[in-house]
């Protein structure tokens, strides 16, 4: 890995979703250049099928409940997904509020995923508030266990992309 944990985290996520796209005919991974969109250069965007997003939610979160609005749509309808990679160990209220504020910058994105880290209780409450604020968007958090589950599903050794998640007893 490099000396830059932010870069490693973002590129690990980019590689993980790119590898996932090899197993799915509809999944496409995109990233804007930082020059063209300075505020959004860190985000990863996906074009995904409705069923892929639903399966991702179920795979990475045991208590996942599909969003009502998207449950009514056909499995192959297109979802526009933004991945907000978090490299902090702890996702607290401030970080969730920032992520929530970023949602309005992406009016055409229907699904927002906070990727990585452990939500504090106040972070979870803030995430619930963000969901209430944006009832037409699906907003997910994939924690470290969820990242392991996704890597396992597509048969990627977790240590290759996210060495800090190698030890399953450490859910940071």
């Amino acid at each position: 890995m490099s000396d830059n944990k932010g870069k490693d985290g973002e590129h690990g996520a980019l590689a993980l979703f790119a590898l996932a796209s090899l197993n799915d005919n509809r999944l496409e991974v995109m990233r804007h250049s930082e020059t063209n969109v300075p505020d959004m250069g860190q985000d990863i965007f996906l074009k995904a099928s409705n069923v892929w997003v639903r399966n991702l939610g179920a795979l990475t979160n045991a208590t996942y409940q599909p969003h009502e609005q998207f449950s009514e749509l056909p499995d192959d309808s297109v979802r526009n997904v933004r991945i907000d990679v978090k490299t902090s160990k702890t996702i607290d209220k401030t970080l969730v509020q920032k992520a929530g504020a970023d949602i309005k910058k992406h009016p055409n994105t229907d699904t927002h995923i906070l990727f990585g880290g452990r939500l504090t209780a106040a972070g979870q409450a803030a995430l619930d508030q963000v969901r209430n604020d944006y009832p037409t968007k699906e907003i997910l958090h994939i924690n470290d266990s969820g990242i392991r589950a996704l890597a396992s599903e597509i048969d990627v050794p977790i240590a290759k992309l996210f060495p800090h998640l190698k030890d399953e007893t450490k859910n940071e």
Partner: protein
């Protein structure tokens, strides 16, 4: 890669403890790493302080966040303004008298992006320094994602 700078208000309890659930984000600015290093490196001896934030009222668990105390925020703003003026001069030299039609979009995007980041960060620091200077419940938090 980027550095996020937040202005956060905590409702401090009677003992002055910082509790996650009693915080609210006022505003934030995302600064590209290279620009942040230019800002921080050029400010001699600029130091980040560590603030302990408790996860909840029980205070059993806590985490650390990096922040700038008012003196450091003031020095950072001073250096930011020097960089702003320097960027202004260099941008003027780069653009010269060329009209928009003859200017590469990338050039104007970079200039606009840099100015936007600098002015937004200046506004955040100014709010802390001029509105909440002696208010310890309002914190300039820094998250360096690298």
């Amino acid at each position: 890669m980027s550095v996020s700078i937040f202005l956060v208000k905590f409702a401090l309890d009677s003992s002055g403890a910082y509790v996650d659930g009693r915080s609210d984000l006022i505003e934030s600015v995302t600064v590209p790493c290279d620009l942040f290093h230019k800002l921080a490196m050029g400010t001699e001896g600029l130091q980040l302080s560590q603030l302990e934030v408790f996860e909840d009222e029980s205070r059993r668990e806590s985490f650390q966040v990096s922040c700038y105390l008012p003196n450091e925020a003031s020095r950072l703003r001073e250096h930011l303004r020097e960089i702003f003026l320097d960027t202004l001069r260099k941008s003027a030299d780069e653009v010269g008298s060329v009209s928009m039609n003859h200017l590469e979009a990338k050039v104007i995007n970079v200039i606009l992006g840099t100015f936007k980041t600098l002015t937004n960060l200046d506004a955040l620091l100014t709010r802390k320094l001029e509105v909440f200077c002696d208010d310890e419940s309002v914190v300039v938090r820094v998250d360096i994602n690298e």
